[in-house]
């Protein structure tokens, strides 16, 4: 049995020697501290990055509440440890701990890790090593926790297949409870067939994907020949979980309020899950279909109770495209009315470009400043926007920002990507022209010269389970050359250049993200080599080392007949077996291919919420359905206090 006394007394003197020790102490408002012995199933939930990034994660917050609400389950949290503390912990043999009780992570039944980005993979290895849990799943014993991953990046977990015991696809609420029940029953039955028995029943019930139960074989040309189960009764394809009736799952209801400063400090309500706008580059939209709304009543109750439970003064109405909620107008107006005199600010990540969005933004900023609005045209030219199915015409964009500037807004931020399929230098340079016309129309509409436009642009990374899963990623040199050319063109614009700022990320991290997001099991060796060489915290530019990654890729992949470019810049043929073909996001492979071809032909696809089904495959395949309003109801009346 692993020790289950608090590590805190051994940690305290180490904390006096490190940066921002407050992030490691736990004890925050709404954190749950159950006696370790009181639960039958114990989860250590991890977001594999620093506390300031991981704590605001919505997925983690939801699972934390769902699990801790059951008296037979407990869940504590753990995050990445910064190198200053990790060095001291290794010196003193203090293992990776949980934030609530400062217990060793190895004492828990499950280490559940939520991956929003592939750049967290080295952080998983670092945490396993600090936790004194064997790095490779094959070396773990019955005493070690099950390492289960989820989140968007888990939809292709093949690059980390050696390090994880299982991956869960899709919505985690019901899945985490079902897995907990399975572990409880397995323990109560005397752990039949040990760890293998537990993993086998997880796999057979379709609850999770267990990589060890699938063999991958390779063809002479180094492509994958086949991926097939190696155990009886294990399904050939593993499907994602889809949660229906979000109103029955109003979480997080009382999220933890961090004591340390974090990247987002607001109470966020997910007003709907899923998106069927059909942007072809967008993995989040593709893998989270269909759209399921929370009703206006549930949103109202969650906001009211969430603010009361946290004391926060900022509310975010989250989703992949919040203005698309069927009752967003009423939600915004009624929330703005309710909190008009209470110093609560409301925000909507507004990325759609239409006048309706401006109305919403005006409602939500009634009390506050009208500083900046954000839109995401993603592609610089109209042609390119048809390729990616981002249905925004330049006329719409200019009239929308004109309206915004006319109503007191002074700044717009425009998001773009570089390296989209079929993109040319001219498509990227067109962004500068667009920004100049934005300034022009803003000056005209507002009568003021004080109009600013920020262009934020990064490299496009093709992702699994999207229509662009086959495309060759643009090479680093071309990405960087196009971005520099754009910046140069803006700088040379004598009339408007100094009112436009260009913010861009260089193409290097994107190339590694590309390797990890469309990699197969062979890429695991690269991840391990990078971590062994000291690579961690790849999401932080001061820690990310492109040279370390390319050196590790060269050393580990060349003997296998593949290389970095083979995974990233190579266009994959339709016939090729993709590393994630056996992992079922519900999207029909033929539909994805057809949508890719439609993109190349610059053909647009309407949203299935309004234009009818076009057979992407999700609903019939997964027994799901679109769940949207309008309900015609309103926010609950304010309770008398």
């Amino acid at each position: 049995m692993t020790e289950t006394t608090s590590l805190y007394p051994r940690l305290e003197s180490l904390l006096t020697q490190v940066n921002k020790p407050v992030q490691y102490i736990g004890g925050e408002v709404n954190s749950v501290n159950k006696p370790f012995g009181s639960a039958e199933v114990r989860w250590a939930l991890m977001y594999p990055d620093a506390y300031e990034v991981g704590q605001p994660n919505q997925g983690l917050a939801i699972l934390y509440e769902v699990l801790n609400e059951r008296d037979w389950i407990l869940a504590e949290r753990t995050f990445s440890i910064w190198p200053d503390l990790a060095t001291l912990m290794r010196r003193d043999q203090v293992p990776q701990f949980t934030w609530e009780s400062h217990l060793p992570v190895s004492a828990f039944d499950v280490l559940g890790v939520s991956f929003s980005t592939e750049l967290g993979y080295t952080n998983l290895l670092e945490a396993l090593d600090l936790a004194q849990i064997p790095l490779h799943a094959a070396e773990r014993s019955e005493a070690d926790p099950l390492v289960i991953v989820g989140g968007h990046a888990a939809f292709n977990p093949e690059p980390i297949a050696d390090f994880i015991d299982a991956a869960v696809f899709g919505d985690g609420e019901e899945a985490a409870l079902a897995i907990s029940a399975l572990i409880r029953d397995w323990k109560a039955a005397g752990r039949p067939d040990g760890r293998h028995g537990l993993l086998l029943s997880l796999a057979i019930k379709g609850l999770a994907y267990v990589p060890a139960f699938y063999d991958v074989t390779y063809a002479a040309d180094a492509t994958i020949a086949a991926i097939a189960p190696n155990q009886p009764d294990v399904p050939a394809r593993v499907a994602k979980h889809v949660l229906l009736e979000l109103d029955n799952w109003p979480y997080p209801a009382k999220p933890i309020v961090p004591l340390a400063e974090t990247v987002h400090e607001r109470y966020s309500v997910e007003i709907f899950r899923g998106c069927s706008r059909g942007c072809r580059f967008c993995q989040a939209g593709m893998i989270s279909r269909p759209v399921r709304e929370r009703s206006i009543e549930t949103v109202g109750t969650m906001v009211e109770c969430g603010l009361a439970a946290t004391g926060l003064d900022e509310v975010g109405l989250l989703s992949l495209s919040s203005a698309d909620h069927s009752e967003i107008g009423e939600i915004s107006r009624q929330l703005a009315d309710r909190y008009a005199d209470s110093f609560v600010s409301l925000s909507l990540p507004s990325t759609r470009v239409d006048a309706f969005n401006i109305d919403l933004a005006n409602q939500l900023s009634r009390n506050g400043r009208r500083s900046g609005l954000t839109f995401a045209p993603e592609g610089g030219s109209e042609r390119l926007r048809r390729v990616i199915n981002k249905q925004v015409s330049e006329t719409d964009l200019l009239s929308t920002v004109g309206t915004a500037f006319g109503q007191g807004w002074r700044q717009v931020k425009l998001y773009f990507m570089c390296g989209l399929p079929t993109e040319t230098d001219e498509d990227v340079l067109a962004i500068a022209d667009l920004a100049a016309r934005v300034i022009e129309s803003g000056r005209h509409a507002s009568g003021s010269r004080d109009i600013r436009c920020t262009i934020s642009i990064g490299g496009f990374v093709p992702k699994a389970h999207t229509p662009f899963q086959w495309v060759g990623q643009l090479d680093v040199e071309t990405v960087d050359r196009r971005l520099r050319a754009l910046k140069e063109k803006v700088r040379e614009d004598r009339r408007y250049g100094r009112f436009i700022s260009v913010k861009y990320h260089d193409g290097k991290p994107g190339q590694i993200e590309g390797l990890l997001s469309r990699g197969d099991r062979r890429v695991g060796k690269v991840i391990e080599a990078v971590w062994r060489d000291g690579g961690i915290l790849d999401g932080w530019s001061e820690h990310f080392s492109f040279d370390r990654w390319t050196a590790a890729a060269e050393a580990e992949l060349t003997p296998l007949g593949v290389n970095l470019g083979w995974y990233t810049t190579r266009e994959r043929p339709r016939s090729e077996v993709l590393a994630w073909d056996h992992l079922d996001s519900g999207l029909d492979r033929d539909w994805l291919w057809q949508d890719y071809q439609d993109g190349l032909a610059e053909a647009e696809v309407e949203d299935c919420r309004w234009a009818g089904c076009y057979d992407c495959g999700v609903c019939p395949d997964l027994g799901a359905e679109i769940q949207i309003g309008p309900t015609g109801r309103s926010l609950l009346p304010l309770r008398q206090v």
């Binding site: 805190y8 305290e12 003197s13 904390l15 006096t16 020697q17 020790p21 407050v22 490691y24 102490i25 736990g26 004890g27 925050e28 408002v29 309020v257 004591l259 340390a260 400063e261 400090e265 603010l307 009361a308 439970a309 946290t310 004391g311 926060l312 003064d313 110093f343 005006n362 900023s365 009634r366 506050g368 400043r369 009208r370 006319g406 109503q407 007191g408 206090v641």
Partner: protein, 234 residues
Amino acid sequence: MSKRQPPKQQPPPVQRLRVRYAKRGRARFASHRDFGRAFERALRRAGIPMAFSSGFNPHPRISYLNAAPTGAASEAEYVELGLAESREPAQVRDALNAAMPTGLNIVEVVEASGGSLAADLTASRWLIEWPQADAAELAAGVAELLAATSCEVQRQSKSGLRSFDVRPAVLELKVVPAGLNLVGVMGEPLLRPSDVVTALRQLRPQLVDTGTALFSRLEQGRWDGQQVGDPLNQ
């Protein structure tokens, strides 16, 4: 066309409260900014009717005074509040305590008397826990420091290494069973207990490799030559 409204002028506070709070246990690692965010959220959760400043970005009226350094525990931190409606101080204390994170505890709330609270916070009593230091070495170091007329130490500040004389800021320094008990002047530059540890290590090199020292503020107030007064009850 709807232009934005000018910000509403906020009414002045109707009641001023003075709050003494403690930073205990793990919460010693909270910085004054961490405390500030937690405190403002606790005020909202507890439903304390705060007065707000005017402007586009109104802030609740809170004055933070002389926060203990990050990593130091404290039994005597002070904050002053302006309320929009009057409340019973004891009730405010209990409501806030129920809403604060573990280790940040509201010890006392009183109605503000006249005068400035800041002006009353001129000295601090600290406990310096230094378990690995030899008691005889400590006693010798204390005696040498108190006998000296000056003792320059260097400290890392945002603008680089700065040097200042610790000795005039030390009002009282005694060896106690847990380590040291220090009364220091709250002047400019502010004496930190870590400066006294640095001074003692300079005087007694055997104290250099003796692990980390932990600091706790015990009292803050006026020094009358004998004791540190209680700024909320005088």
